[in-house]
Symmetry: C2
Subunit: 313 residues, 2 copies
């Protein structure tokens, strides 16, 4: 039996996906939401969200996303199904999305599967995440002010690392950039700007091998790439700035991706296939924040609705 | 005495302006906020905001913006000054902004002065605003379900009116479009799509002369343009869709504007002058929602900070 065809499938249940579902439903179309295995997305793991508007004093990521999810459930009388997408077939007007157990069809699709920060994949990294190991300077730089020594290490040598460093500077006494490369490989203007600061130090040819700590991070274990020697580098705050890793493996090459694996969209958030939209951290975007992901969701839904209106039905 | 030069001036205290201020402050730069005479912006006048994420059951516009403002005050230890901008001088690196009583200078500026829906300017319009007279179908279409008759009038004949009509259709028994023109003047695909619906009626050559009601709207007074006759048209819900009116008069031609008076930006939200950014309803944008304005504020602040970093100082 052929599965029901919905007006719109939304894949993902973080800020972008939930907002897309909310807006699509409110515009009166038939929307089906595939939520994956983490309802609320990676925000649910944030200890405290201080920069989402409307929440003075901040809100835990879990609380924010619970409220968001409840709003969607109240509005739509349904909730995203807890299935993860394993594959897609966008070759026909009825776009197909496959999970482990079922196939769903939609005339339009919003992909909002998010991204995770690229991880160092070293021992201690997961254990001390949020306890001295951070991935978002915009979110967590102000935490430096609560530490006994406001010295931060940034891991990485590209644009992400340098933007991370710049975001830390107003909050940190000193910032040490540690890269395994022979030099920084970011935009020249950015490098110039960074090297102007007396309280920035750049250490090259060093690989992070482990995060060391007790209740929280106390040091990094580094390997000198030229000699193979190990060194213990004392630090309480490590910001990993080696890029984002968009969740796009399920696409299997169906859409045009950027060099870093993000989905490329036009200004209407439409991808390389008409009727397929991408919203939030999974797309190529200049700023990955909760509020920008939510706005993406609203805009993608709005444009998906217009697409459905124009293509008839 | 020359006024102090700030890193960034933010003009406007609605969702875009407050979010720009929040993000700029959190990034560690010196930001000065000019709030105008309506702290919180036009959202404060919304009876109920149902589509801003994180608020299941909805929130009044006033409550939402009070929370937003409190968040900014808590973070920045300051609040937007209640002065309105009367003029600007962006010709020098130290950009100047003039109010009635003072001059402020910034190395970068975020303009977030918002827009108002274009009004019909007829008797009864203000009196019955929110009581049968609406300006945002995306926001208020679901209210139709609470009315005794789910019949709506849309005033206007352009894209705004037709998008308004499409947004109403899932909620309305019938939609009557009333335009003073001889025909609809929207995108052909949109017109075609609208005329397909049996429950849409288009009435041409009619001017709205007044909104009539008691505790709420009961009718429109229409004038037939060809004969000059008047007609009373009974209706409980009127959606005015004659466009938006961005608040840009203070610019005096300093920036490139679109045909409808919105500020034109590139994808980084930078205007025709480097270092001057625009965010939210005041800029040319495909969707005017609270969440998209907030995201604009975050992105404009982010890019203003990068601009300041690159241009040194």
């Amino acid at each position: 039996m052929s599965p029901a065809e919905h007006d719109l499938l939304v894949i993902g249940s973080g800020p972008a996906g939930l907002t897309a579902g909310l807006y699509a439903h409110r515009s009166g179309i038939d929307v089906f939401m595939l939520g994956g295995d983490t309802p609320g997305g990676q925000v649910t793991m944030h200890y405290k969200v201080e920069n989402f508007p409307g929440f003075p004093g901040g809100v835990t990521g879990a609380d924010l996303m619970t409220r968001w999810l409840r709003q969607v459930i109240d509005e739509t009388d349904s909730m995203p199904v807890s299935e993860s997408v394993k594959g897609v077939d966008f070759s026909r007007p009825a776009k197909e999305v496959h999970t482990e157990s079922a196939t769903y069809r939609g005339r339009a699709v919003v992909i909002a599967t998010g991204a995770g920060p690229r991880r160092m994949d070293v021992p201690g990294e997961s254990e001390f995440q949020g306890k001295g190991v951070f991935y978002c300077a915009t979110c967590d730089a102000p935490l430096l002010r609560t530490m006994s020594r406001r010295r931060a290490v940034v891991v990485g040598g590209g644009d992400t690392a340098l933007h991370t460093s710049l975001a830390l500077l107003p909050h940190a006494e000193s910032v040490t950039i540690i890269t395994r490369g022979e030099r920084l490989r970011a935009k020249p203007a950015l490098i110039k700007r960074i090297l102007k600061n007396k309280n920035v130090q750049v250490l090259v040819n060093l690989s992070v091998k482990a995060v060391i700590g007790d209740v929280a991070t106390t040091a990094l274990l580094l390997e000198k790439k030229d000699t193979g020697e190990f060194e213990k580098f004392p630090v309480e705050a490590v910001f990993v700035g080696i890029g984002q890793s968009p969740n796009t493996s399920f696409l299997g090459g169906a859409l045009h991706l950027s060099a870093d694996g993000s989905i490329v969209t036009d200004s209407s958030l439409q991808t390389s296939i008409p009727g397929i939209f991408a919203a939030g951290d999974v797309r190529e975007t200049p700023l990955r924040q909760i509020v920008t992901a939510a706005a993406d969701g609203a805009l993608a839904a709005h444009n998906a609705v217009q697409y459905l209106q124009i293509t008839g039905g």
